[in-house]
Amino acid sequence: MQVFRYSQARTVDGAVENVARSGGAFIAGGTTLVDLMKLNVLQPTSVVDINGLPLDRIETLPGGGLRIGALVRNSDLAWNDTVRQQYAVLSEALLSGASPQLRNMATTGGNLLQKTRCYYFRDTNYACNKRQPGSGCAALDGFNRIHAVLGGSEHCVATHPSDMAVAMMALEATVHTQGPKGERAITLDDFYLVPGSTPDRENVLVPGELITHVTLPALPSGTRSVYLKLRDRQQYEFALASSAIVVNVNGGSIQRARIAFGGVGTKPWRSREAEKALEGQPASPETFRRAADAAMASAKPLKYNAFKIELAKRALIRNLEQTTQAA
């Protein structure tokens, strides 16, 4: 870890102004930032603590929907009554992530912006285009079992590891920010970028832009949602493949489906291909299989991770089986 300046922000404006000026980093729970500072992967010269900002509330929106402050802790969000009742997929995704200790610290904003667990990103002795643009990618011919099969490029195949963001992707969340140029709202799908030739750019935020909150739209009544995370052990491990689904079934036919995957993509992966294969179709094993195949049609396996394609399909199929059964 290198020497850095530390300050506490009192207002959102102050925080934004400070980071925009200093080129530093916001710190919320610190579970990603401090970890990577200790490895010298992130070396901000200035760290602005945002924990004192009034962004820690969960509120129901007037027209339905939920507003989640950027500083709401992962544990508080997971155990919130409204979330558990109306957005079960989100609660389940959060509780499948990390450990209770980490979830008590981790925040909504920080979780969205957590960094990949790619071994080579986390070690400054390796080539990594995400960490050091133009240096190469050590994962391509390295041990790439945990890497992405969707959204990769010849410059980067690192997965986005968040569980929460996968659920939010299926819930069609919107990220609200305040930056040097004012406020804006960005759909989560547009928020994240695939690596292409600039894997160091993971999202559309500009320096100093602060996530203030996230909103979730209201769901049609009768919506069911579920998260399933598959991995080597049962707890405290990132997903090898995970599936978040939000569906409505009527008379045995799927009216509406929102499908997202974790552990397999370079960003939390929304699959419109799978949604298309499901909507208007009977809730049958054949439909599920077709949707799973459609979701993974463009998947590109690396040397060690081909099994993720099959695993992701199975996670989706199991979720569909469970949510479309007559209640």
Binding site: R117, Y119, F143, L230, D232
Partner: protein, 750 residues
């Protein structure tokens, strides 16, 4: 079945130091407060095979708080350990740190920065620039030059080659166990402090006496000028048996800056610089008759060691004694590679060796359409055939373990067809395996002191690494004297105390029991003598034949043997009458060499595993685990059970999760942290059960107790892979069992 009338032996007594641990008052290595302490942070190699061309410390040297930077160019002289020449000690790595400009493995210390604060040292360490002239790494057996010379271990009886060739049924398979890393919660760590010519080392150690000797040899100072303290150890699993380079680095640095120096091995370097269980690649050939009698076994092992040490993971030993088989050949070959030196990890040799043997036995049972348990009974070893002439076992009740385990587990309900057992939507798989571990003891010296205030104190330079050793000392003293446990102080983990054993090989309990017993009895005898000679002794009146009456000590009182304790007097009164502060006795006990030549000492066990397999999502979980152990008398059922169940948890990790993955390009263990090196979590562990069949092994000590630290791990990995096969039809011969193997198997059968 108890050998002792006093129920404190065997009772599930809580750890006597437990409250210190749960309240945080127990001081582990780096918890010892120290004035004026400085901090050492290592610079470790980022390549696996190189010469250091240049170390540039110019920036780091000038950074705030930096006191010194030591590397091969400016190191003080250190020495190699005497090792085999003296046979009184063993180092983890024989090469002293900074010996020369060579790098033999990734994560080798190339420099240490010592500074006023940890943060300053860390900051400066990142600014030390090292240039390497690198050479290709060898981290895989396939990349190593073919081994020269005879195998490191060779064993033969009968004539295995022709017996295998002519056998009607044959198994010939190769099994691979990956490198594993110990990863105790408490990292290796040292505080070194010099007092004149003497160095005091606060360590996290499994052997304070061995550590003292190695440091004396490698620092080049007399053994009496080294003191090693390890009152608590946040576990070792074998990794803390022998001193590693950081201890020398701390000692050298402390001398140079003339201040105490604290050095904590970072988690990442726990994977390189403090040992690991090496990979083993093991070919197993078994020949048998149609009805399952073993005719021939070949066990051939390749095992990596480091470039600087010859570490042998003796995997073939267990094959030579576990089953009855006339013709047997075993060979083990070492392959030097660019890895840190391997070291014993819980169950060394036997745990990796049992996996191919027990797996091959299961494959044979399937081929013969025999129940795997029946196959084992058919080849039951009544004697230890590895010796010539064969030796009887000192005490073996494995048959009973199989039987009790099978009954309790419900083994007779097993249907052998793959995938034939179901529970809801899940498929169940059942597996079982034999477990074994050596039963032996060494020598120890213990001092027991009976104090005038009614308390007792027992001391020994062994240590409690979390297993319950403190408590066992107190139990024996309490049993002999009747002094309650909470009035007995036990002091361990200090090399200046009477010589005690290293906590390794599951031998401490069997080793210290006779010494604690002898010292306690000796101290009691002295108090009795004092009782007979004190001025107003109530015991002076003549007994039968005019001799003084026979006195004994019970419930803390000295009394006439055939009269109740209340008739006597408290022992502290005896001491008071003599105006003595205490009476004490130091006793040294050693194993009887003739018994250990007459008998083969082994503990045994049977382990049963159920897995639950969800084929739809390729999820494999262990859903039941039962262990039945024949390990002599259990001295403390609470800590004993804890040892077995803890080992089972580790075994489940070994079967399903653990593997240190090296990057061929730079020899780095890629998953060198607690998030990426995965071990069992609570969620992976079902209800576990453990049953002891308690036949005291009186050849070993008066209580008939053996060690139980390792045996619980021995059969788990093979029982799990058998269960996995039973559930899925996929035979995993390369641990750990991975989702991709199971999916591939499904796709093949589909």
């Amino acid at each position: 079945m108890s050998t002792s009338g006093n129920s404190i032996i065997g009772a599930p007594i809580q750890r006597i130091e437990g409250s210190l641990k749960v309240t945080g008052a127990a001081r582990y290595a780096v918890d010892h407060p120290m004035d004026n302490i400085a901090f050492g942070v290592p610079v470790a190699s980022t390549v696996g095979n190189a010469r250091i061309a240049r170390i540039d410390t110019s920036i780091a040297q000038r950074m705030p708080g930096v006191l010194t930077i030591i590397h091969h160019g400016n190191t003080d002289q250190l020495f190699r350990p005497a090792g085999q020449l003296e046979q009184s000690s063993r180092a983890g790595e024989v090469r002293p740190p900074f010996e020369d400009d060579k790098v033999y493995y990734y994560g080798q210390y190339v420099a240490v920065v010592v500074a006023n604060t940890f943060e300053q040292a860390q900051d400066a360490a990142a600014k030390v620039k090292v240039q390497y002239e690198t050479q290709p790494n060898v981290v895989e057996i396939a990349d190593a030059p073919p081994p020269q010379g005879p195998p490191r271990i060779h064993y033969a009886r009968g004539n295995a080659d022709p017996a295998f060739e002519s056998a009607p049924v044959k198994i010939d398979e190769t099994y691979v166990l990956p490198p594993e890393t110990h990863n105790p919660m408490e990292m290796h760590a040292t505080i070194a402090k010099w007092e004149g010519e003497k160095v005091i080392l606060y360590e996290s150690s499994q052997g304070v006496v061995n550590h003292q000797h190695v440091l004396s040899e490698m620092l080049g100072i007399p053994v009496d000028q080294v003191q090693v303290l390890s009152p608590f150890c946040g576990s070792g699993f074998g990794g803390k048996l022998f001193p590693w380079p950081h201890s020398l680095v701390a000692a050298m640095a402390a001398k140079r800056v003339n201040r105490p120096v604290k050095f904590v091995v970072p988690r990442a370097l726990m994977f390189t610089a403090v040992g690991h269980r090496p990979l083993t690649q093991q070919r197993m050939r078994i020949g048998a008759t149609q009805d399952g009698k073993l005719l021939s076994i070949h066990h051939d092992v390749f095992q990596p060691t480091s470039m600087v040490d010859t570490y042998v993971e003796a995997a073939t030993g267990v094959t030579t004694m576990l089953y009855s088989c006339e013709n047997l050949t075993a060979n083990q070959t070492l392959v030097p590679m660019n890895i840190g030196t391997p070291t014993p990890m819980r169950g060394p040799g036997i745990v990796p060796g049992l996996f191919p043997l027990e797996s091959a036995m299961d494959e044979l049972a399937i081929k013969l359409n025999l129940d795997p348990l029946e196959l084992r009974l058919k080849n039951y070893a009544e004697q230890d055939e590895s010796f010539s002439p064969v030796r009887p076992f000192s005490s073996k009740h494995l048959r009973e373990c199989y039987q009790i385990g099978a009954e309790k587990f419900g083994w007779s309900k097993r249907t052998p067809q793959v995938g034939s057992m179901k529970s809801g939507d899940e498929i169940l798989g059942w597996g079982m395996a034999t477990a074994t571990w050596h039963a032996s003891r060494g020598s120890a010296t213990v001092r027991v002191r009976l104090n005038a205030d009614g308390t007792a104190r027992a001391t020994c330079a062994t240590q409690d690494i979390g297993t319950g050793t403190y408590t066992i000392f107190a139990q024996v003293v309490s049993e002999k004297t009747g002094i309650p446990i909470d009035k007995i102080e036990v002091v361990l983990g200090d090399s200046s105390l009477p010589d005690g054993p290293t906590s390794g090989g599951s031998t401490v309990t069997a080793t210290i029991l006779p010494a604690v017993s002898a010292a306690t009895n000796g101290a009691i005898d002295r108090v009795i003598a004092a009782a007979q000679t004190m001025p107003s002794s109530p015991f002076k009146r003549a007994g039968a034949g005019g001799d003084p009456p026979k006195l004994i000590m019970t419930a803390g009182r000295i009394h006439v043997a055939d009269q109740p304790p209340e008739s006597g007097i408290p022992f502290q009164e005896v001491l008071a009458q003599h105006r003595l502060a205490a009476l004490e006795m130091e006793s040294r006990t050693a194993p009887d060499p003739t018994t250990s030549r007459q008998f083969s000492g082994h503990s045994f066990g049977a382990q049963f595993i159920e897995v639950a397999w969800d084929p739809g999502i390729a999820r494999m979980r262990v859903s039941r685990a039962l262990t039945v152990i024949d390990a002599g008398k259990i001295i403390n059922h609470r800590t004993g059970r804890n040892q077995i169940l803890g080992a089972v948890v580790m075994g489940i990790g070994m079967a399903l999760f653990e593997e240190t993955i090296y990057d061929k390009r730079n020899a780095k263990p890629l998953n060198n942290n607690f998030a990426d090196y995965i071990v069992s979590t609570n969620a992976d562990i079902p209800d576990l059960d453990c049953i002891f069949v308690e036949y005291p092994d009186l050849h070993l000590n008066e209580y008939g107790a053996r060690g139980i630290g390792e045996i619980g791990l021995a059969g788990i990995a093979s029982a799990v892979t058998m269960a996995v096969y039973h559930a899925t039809g996929v035979r995993v011969r390369k641990l750990p069992v991975r989702i991709e193997d199971l999916i591939a198997g499904q796709q093949m059968t589909a």
